[in-house]
Every structure is written in C-alpha cells, then in structure tokens.
C-alpha cells in the first residue's frame, strides 16, 4: 500500500507542488527557529559559573574630577568593605557579569590561538561572585610583582589553547601566566554559550576599572542602597554613583535573548497555523473531489478505516517528499559549520521539526480523513 501511495502522489506531483513547497517552507522556518531554541536551551542547561544573588554593581563616574582617581577609588573600595551589611567587595572592569559592555582579545599559546572575553578584575572577584576553581588558585595582591601577569582562565579557554594539557604555569601571549582555572563563566547570562574567558589582575593604580561589585548579606534592603549612594556621593563630590542589582541586569540580558525568540515563535506560529489551515482546506477539497474514488475503493474492498488511513498516508507521503527536500537544505548547516553551532543542535532541531511537521499534517488530515471514511460507497459511486 505504501508504494501505491507513493506512486499516486508522485504521479500527481505537479498538482501537489505548491503543497510540497508550503510544507518545505514550514520545515525550513521551523528548523531555523528550533535551532535557535535548542541552542538557547542547551546554553541554559549549562551552569553559569558564578552566583549573582545579592550582588550589586556600583558604577562610579569621576566626571570632571581627574586628580588621584585610583586612590579615591581605593578609598571607596575600603569604605564599602567596612559596612557590616557587605560580605565582599571586588573591583572590576566595565564588562562585569550581565553588563552591556564587552571586551575581548586574542590570545595565543605556541601555534594555537583563540578569542577570549577579557575581564580585568581584582583578587576578590572569585570570592564576591562565588566562583569555584577547578585547578590552581585565584591571584593575590602579591602576584602583581612577578615577571608575568597572573591570569585565571576558564575551562573553555584552556581547551582551546591547551587541549588536554595542564594549563597551570603555561605562558600565553608572551606576558601572561595561567595560575588558575575556573569551570564555566557565562558573563552574559544563562542563554550565553560558554565562551573562552580570561581574568587578568587589576592594577589598582589605574584610572579605569572602578566598578565595585558588592555582595551584600541576605536581607539587606533598599535603605542600605540609599545610604551607600549618599555616603559615596558625599565622599567624592562631583562623582556619580549608580547601583545595579545583578538580578535585574540578568533579566535585561535574558530579555535581549528571549524577545527575538518569542517574536520568531509568534511569527512561526502564525505561519504554521496558516499552513495547517491551508492543508486542512486542501484535504477537505480533495476529499470532496475524490468521492467517486472513495466509493470505488470501498467497492473494491477498502474499509472505512482503510480509507481514513489512506488519506493520512497520502499526506504523510507528501510531507515526506517536502521533508526530504528540506533535509537536503538543512543538513548543509552542520556539514558546512554554518553559524559555528554544535552539530547536535542542528540534528536535534531537524528531528523535532520533522516530528512537528508530521504531527501537524496528521492533525490536519484526521478530520477530513474521518469524513472520507464515513462516505457511503453507493452514494459516492452514484454521484460520480
């Protein structure tokens, strides 16, 4: 029966061409959307590599003040540390977690090189963000006097630069020595893929990098936030002080990822509903036009259920033709490494898209095929 259905559909391929194109287009849209969703879900399921609850980022702008900036920043650092509500403070570059700033650089080791997200942070950073180390240690203030700049990299950077070798003690880009390795570090939130990251020790005498990351004790409220802003503004007249809660910044980052996905999901949803309605209409029309054939098949031995199965089978064959063409296109993405995504993401998206397309066409065919099954053979033959 399957070969019969293939023959029937193949012989009517011109009449079905538009339907095949419609299913193909739906598959391609679904495949694109699902690749994006699978990519984000996979990222989301991987650990962030740090904690952000009760962490505030205090942004300091010296504005017109240009004198003794590093010393003033250090005084603020010490002041923050002295509050009993504060558990830990760290100075960091502007690309702190969930911020909208990026800073990256290319690093190399022997003949291998990679782009890393480049963080300039002090010795307290890992403590403030509760980052577990998987090897070595985080740098200390005393490390700054050594021949090489002490750096900590994440495991992804280690894999890119050293594959399976032990990275500890290795020199990269001539002047940086790896002294520690952390696991994941997804600075832009859970939806970000785990990219290579490098943490370099902050120079306290530098004018830049004066964002203070403050871990407050649980239960600390907005009163304290207001007090901090007031105190710091009083300490350094003319400076602006801005407090961001990392939990809020995280939401903003998530929205940047989720909003386009949700829009694409809504647009694709409408497209799929249209395709489903189109298929439903075409099947209804097809059954109305093929009443004679239905009567004939019943006369020749088909049961009502057999007729129903035939119509579902036909739409499955049509979908199979469309999906084969679609898969031919889709498979190019993992083969040509388009968008540098893992192959598994594309394969998963393909499988889910195929499943959804078969599901939609089956749903669309169910009602018309049941109607076809109820057609009385004698009546249908007579109408013809």
């Amino acid at each position: 029966m399957i070969s019969h259905l293939f023959k029937l559909i193949w012989n009517k391929k011109k009449a079905h061409a538009l339907l095949i194109i419609e299913i193909w287009a739906s598959f391609m849209v679904l495949f694109g959307l699902l690749s994006l969703i699978v990519f984000n879900i996979r990222n989301y399921s991987q650990p962030l590599g740090f904690t952000y609850e009760n962490v505030w980022a205090i942004g300091l702008q010296s504005n017109q003040d240009t004198v003794g900036i590093p010393q003033k920043a250090q005084r603020i650092f010490q002041r923050l540390k002295a509050y009993p509500e504060v558990a830990s403070v760290s100075r960091a570059s502007n690309n702190f977690p969930f911020s909208s700033s990026n800073m990256n650089t290319r690093v190399d080791h022997e003949k291998r090189h990679t782009m890393v997200e480049y963080y300039i942070v002090d010795a307290h950073f890992s403590n403030t963000l509760e980052m577990p180390l998987v090897a070595g240690r985080w740098y200390r203030g005393a490390d700054s006097v050594g021949k090489f700049k002490p750096i900590v990299i994440n495991q992804k950077a280690s894999e890119e630069l050293f594959e399976n070798e032990n990275p500890l003690g290795k020199i990269i880009s001539k002047d940086k020595q790896v002294i520690g390795v952390v696991g994941n570090f997804k600075g832009k939130g859970e939806f970000m893929s785990n990219q290579p990251a490098l943490f370099e020790q902050l120079d306290e005498n530098n004018d830049w990098n004066k964002t203070m990351l403050v871990r407050v004790k649980p239960g600390t409220d907005a009163m304290f936030e207001a007090k901090v802003v007031k105190d710091l503004s009083a300490m350094q007249a003319g400076w602006s002080v801005e407090v961001d809660h990392l939990t809020d910044s995280r939401k903003t980052q998530h929205n940047l990822t989720l909003v386009p996905v949700i829009i694409a999901l809504i647009v694709s949803g409408f497209l799929l509903v249209n395709v489903a309605l189109g298929l439903f209409g075409i099947l209804n029309l097809s059954i109305a036009r093929r009443r004679g054939e239905i009567g004939l098949r019943r006369a020749l031995g088909a049961t009502g259920r057999g007729i129903s199965t035939q119509f579902i089978g036909e739409i499955w064959v049509l979908a199979t033709f469309a999906l084969l063409i679609g898969l031919l296109f889709a498979v190019q993405f993992p083969l040509l490494d388009v968008f540098d995504l893992q192959r598994g993401i594309y394969v998963t998206a393909m499988l889910i898209a195929v499943g959804i397309i078969y599901g939609i066409v089956t749903l669309c065919a169910l009602f018309p095929s049941r109607q076809a099954a109820m057609i009385q053979p004698a009546v249908a033959l007579h109408e013809e």
């Binding site: 019969h4 004679g292 031995g301 009385q376 053979p377 004698a378 013809e384």
Partner: protein, 231 residues
C-alpha cells in the same frame, strides 16, 4: 450464490421517504448470467448495490455464498466485497493518476497475505491479458478509448478472481461495436464460471444473458429464463 429475501429499501430524509425497493425475493445460482432491466429510477442500481454490499437494506436479508451478511460489520463486508465480488461501472471509475496496471492492482492492495508484490503484479498482468490489454499496461486512463477503459475496469473486476461480477450498465457509455466487445468478454468470463449480474437498458444485450429480471417502481415484475442467442 446470491439470495435476497423480502428486501425493502427506503431512502429517508428529514422531510420525505422514498421507497426504492419493495418485497424483492430473488435467488441467483452460481454460474448464472442475469440481466436486470427497467425504466430509470425503478431501483436497478439500488438492487445491484445491495447485492454488492455497497448499501444496506431497510428490511429483509441478503445472503452471499450462503452467508447472511445483513448484520455484518464494515470490515467483514469489505472482505466479502474484496474476495467474492467484482464491480464494473458504466463510467469505468478508473483512477486517472494511476497507470492501467496500477488501477487493476487496486483490489489486491486490500487483500492481506496472499497477494503481495510481484505476485500482485503478475495477477494484474494476467487479468489484462484476458481482456486483451497487455500492451497498454503502462498507459494512463486518459490515453485510452472508452472501450479500452471498460476492459481495464473488467480486468480490475476479475483480478481477484471473484465468484460474482456485478456490472452496472457496462456498455452504457460505449458504441454498439465496443458494447459487443465488452459483452463478449463478459460471456467468456461467465463461461469460465463467474456469476454475472448486469444492469442494462439495452434489450439486445439483455437477450444475450441467461435470465432477465424486470423491475418497475421498486418491485420485481418479471423474472424470465431466456433462450441463449450464443447457443
């Protein structure tokens, strides 16, 4: 082979009832070639549909090969239609998107077990040879004449080697030469042992059968054994 007892068929809508057949008692023996005649709307096709298990009587009993089929379910009726009955229609009812041999194969598709793959192909080829169309197997219905289409329909009716062939005005859409050709094939099939029931408007064709049933206003008004012209 076919027995109809006290058959009544009423078509009901919400507003009207139409009595299509009333008090039909008829017995058809194996190997008979019967023609049914009567004016349009007298119930000929309805009677044929009841014999072919395409419709259910409002009252009465239908027996096919000794089996009382009145209470049969869809699956059992479909099996009986597939195994025991072959249909030939006035308008051929060929599927235009399938080749001649694929059309002929259709009844075998609904037969589980004994007709698969190559053997199905072989049976269809044999049926087409019987009607003299083995050279048109790959053609499509649109490429055939009316007579050839009806021969394909006959091949389809006999491919499953049924005991009974029901023909609803098989020569109705054909000229007399083509009609005679079809009639010859039916007579050959009957000579081979098939029981044939044919609805026709053509007295000449009817006279070539063994027995003539006449219907009028849904009632059986005549049942006569004919002197066979081919003897």
């Amino acid at each position: 082979m076919i027995t109809l007892k006290n058959i009544e068929k009423v078509y009901r809508t919400t507003r009207i009832e139409t009595l299509a057949l009333t008090n039909i008692n008829l017995s058809i023996a194996p190997g008979e070639f019967i023609s049914i005649m009567g004016p349009s709307g007298c119930g000929k096709s309805t009677l044929l549909n009841l014999m072919g298990l395409l419709d259910e009587p409002s009252a009465g009993q239908v027996q096919i090969g000794g089996e009382v089929v009145t209470q049969y379910r869809d699956r059992e009726l479909a099996r009986l239609r597939n195994r025991k009955i072959g249909f030939i229609f006035q308008s051929f009812h060929l599927i235009n998107d399938l080749s001649v041999i694929d059309n002929v194969e259709i009844p075998l598709l609904y037969r589980k077990g004994d007709a698969v793959g190559a053997s199905r192909r072989e049976m269809a080829r044999e049926a087409l040879e019987k009607v003299g169309l083995s050279n048109r197997m790959k053609h499509f219905p649109g490429q055939l004449s009316g007579g050839q289409k009806q021969r394909v329909a006959i091949a389809r009716a006999i491919v499953g080697r049924p005991d009974i062939i029901l023909a609803d005005e098989p020569t109705g859409n054909l000229d007399s030469a083509m009609g005679n050709e079809i009639m010859n094939i039916l007579q050959q099939l009957n000579a081979g042992g098939a029981t044939i029931v044919m609805v026709t408007h053509d007295e000449t064709m009817a006279k070539q059968t063994h027995r003539l049933i006449r219907l009028f206003d849904g009632a059986l008004v005549g049942d006569s054994v004919l002197a066979r012209t081919d003897d």
